[in-house]
Subunit: 264 residues, 2 copies
C-alpha cells in the first residue's frame, strides 16, 4: 500500500486525531512506574484505551532515548503493538548530511518500522531526499512549530516572505513520490492559513492543541476549504488524563472528546 | 572541571583534530564485520590508533541508531572507552520543544555521558536552553553546515544578513555558562570568516575537511587572527584509511598527517 493510500485509509474524514506517545515515568499511574518495562506497558494501555478514536500514533523518540537502549527496545515494541490501520509517525526531527541521513532513514523505517518520520529542514534538500526513496514511507518536514521559539528563525523575513514559506516550497518540490507532509503548529492559525495557500495539498501534522494552548475551533476554521489531510496531535492531555491506576477510562474519554471536537 | 577548561585542556593549541566515529559495517576490515559487537570493536581500534593525535571524538548517533538498541549499547561503550583527556561530542543535531529537549539533554548528557552535543537551531532559543543548565556540558549549534543543501535555508538573505548570521547571534546570546559553540563547515571559507567576525570567540566544530573536499590551507587562513578554539572533524579519511585487517597503522598515519597539517 502506498503512503498516500494508507493516509487516506487511516484518516478517512481528512481530519483526525494523532496521539503523542511521550511517556514520562513520574507522570504515570503508580503501577506503571514500578513495572519492568514502564514505557511499553504504559503505552500499551494508552493504545488499547484510545485506538477507536485515533488515526495515528506519534512517539517522540526523545522520551525513549532518555532511557538508553532499554528505552529504544520499548519504543520498538510499542510500534509493533500499534494496530495496522493506524499511521505510525516517529517524531525524531532528524536532519543531517546525505550519508548520515541515509543511516537515519534505515533507523526509522527498517529498524523501528515507522510509516513516517518528522525531519528538520535546516540542512536543506539533500538532507531530506534519503528519506523519500520508497512510496510507502515518508516525512513530515518541520515548517512552523508550535513553541514560542518558532519566531526566532522560522519567522524571519526573507525577500518579502518568511523562512517557513521557503521550507514549504522546498517540501512541495520534493513530493515526487507523494510521501512528503508538513508540520504546522496550531498555535498560530493565521500563519497556518498562509501555509495552506502554498502547501499543494500536502498532509499536515498539527501539534499545539491541548497543553500548548491551541484551539480546535480556530484550527478548524483555518483548515476550512482546504483538502490537506490533517493529523492533529495531542499528547499530555490524553496520555496523562489521570494518574489513577485505572486511568484507561479517563484516557478513552479524553481521546473521544477531542476526536468528537475535531469531527463535529 | 568546567567545559571551558576541558576544551582548553583537550585543545591546547587552539586548533585540533576531531575524529568522527561513524562506523559503517560494509566499509570495515573483515575481522570487524564478523565481530559480535562490530561498531564497538572497530571504534576501539580507531581510538587506540589515533588518540595521540586527537583532541576530540565525535560519534554521529545515526550510525548507531541504524542498528537499534544494540547500536545504542555500542555507542555508550564506545564513549566509556574514550580517554578522559579528549572532548566527547555526540553529533545528534537534535532540536525539539522545551520538555522534549529536556529529555534529549538527559539522553545525551546523563545516559551517554557526552561533554557536548550538536543541536539544530530551527526551533529557536527555547529548544536550546534545556541543554545549557550545567557549565560542564554544552552544545555546538549548527550555523553553516558543509553539505550542498546548506544553501537552501541557511544562506537565505534576511534584512541584508543571512539566516546563519541570526543563528550565530542567537548562539552568542545563550552563552551565559560558557558552554555554547558553533558548527561551521570548512567548505565555504569566506562564510566561515564572516561568521568568525560575529562569533565572540565561541568554540567551533568544523566539518568538511577530507572526503567532503574542504582544504586545510584555506581553513587555516580563514581562522588566522581569531582566538576561537576550533575542532576540525575528519571521519571517513581516517576511520576508513584502509580495509586491511591490520588497518591500525594506516589509521594512525592518516590521523598524524592531518594533525600535522593543522599544527604546521
Amino acid at each position: 500500500m502506498t503512503l498516500k493510500d494508507k493516509i487516506g485509509a487511516c484518516c478517512p474524514q481528512g481530519l483526525g486525531l494523532c496521539v503523542g506517545l511521550d511517556p514520562v515515568i513520574a507522570k504515570m499511574p503508580e503501577k506503571y512506574q514500578t513495572a519492568l518495562s514502564p514505557l511499553l506497558e504504559f503505552n500499551l494501555s494508552i493504545i488499547e484505551a484510545s485506538a477507536p478514536y485515533v488515526c495515528a500514533y506519534k512517539p517522540n523518540i526523545a522520551f525513549y532515548e532518555a532511557h538508553g537502549s532499554k528505552g529504544w527496545d520499548q519504543l520498538k515494541k510499542t510500534i509493533e503493538a500499534i494496530p495496522d490501520d493506524k499511521l505510525v509517525i516517529v517524531d525524531a526531527k532528524r536532519g543531517d548530511i546525505g550519508n548520515t541521513a541515509q543511516a537515519y532513514a534505515i533507523a526509522m523505517f527498517n529498524e523501528l518500522k515507522a510509516d513516517m518520520v518528522t525531519v528538520s529542514p535546516y540542512l536543506g534538500k539533500d538532507s531530506l531526499i534519503p528519506f523519500l526513496n520508497e512510496n510507502d514511507k515518508g516525512i513530515f518536514v518541520l515548517a512552523l512549530t508550535s513553541n514560542p521559539g518558532s519566531a526566532d528563525i522560522q519567522e524571519l523575513t526573507v525577500a518579502g516572505s518568511h523562512v517557513y514559506s521557503h521550507v514549504v516550497k522546498m517540501a512541495v518540490s520534493l513530493n515526487h513520490n507523494q510521501n512528503v507532509g508538513l508540520v504546522v503548529g496550531a498555535t498560530k492559525p493565521e500563519i497556518l492559513q498562509e501555509i495552506l495557500e502554498i502547501s499543494d495539498g500536502l498532509p499536515l501534522l498539527i501539534p499545539g492543541i491541548g497543553a500548548q494552548g491551541g484551539s480546535v475551533y480556530a484550527l478548524k476554521s483555518a483548515l476550512e476549504g482546504y483538502s490537506n489531510p490533517a493529523f492533529v496531535n495531542v499528547s499530555r492531555k490524553i496520555i496523562f488524563a489521570s494518574q489513577s491506576d485505572s486511568h484507561e477510562g479517563d484516557v478513552r474519554e479524553s481521546a473521544m472528546k477531542i476526536s468528537d471536537e475535531l469531527a463535529g
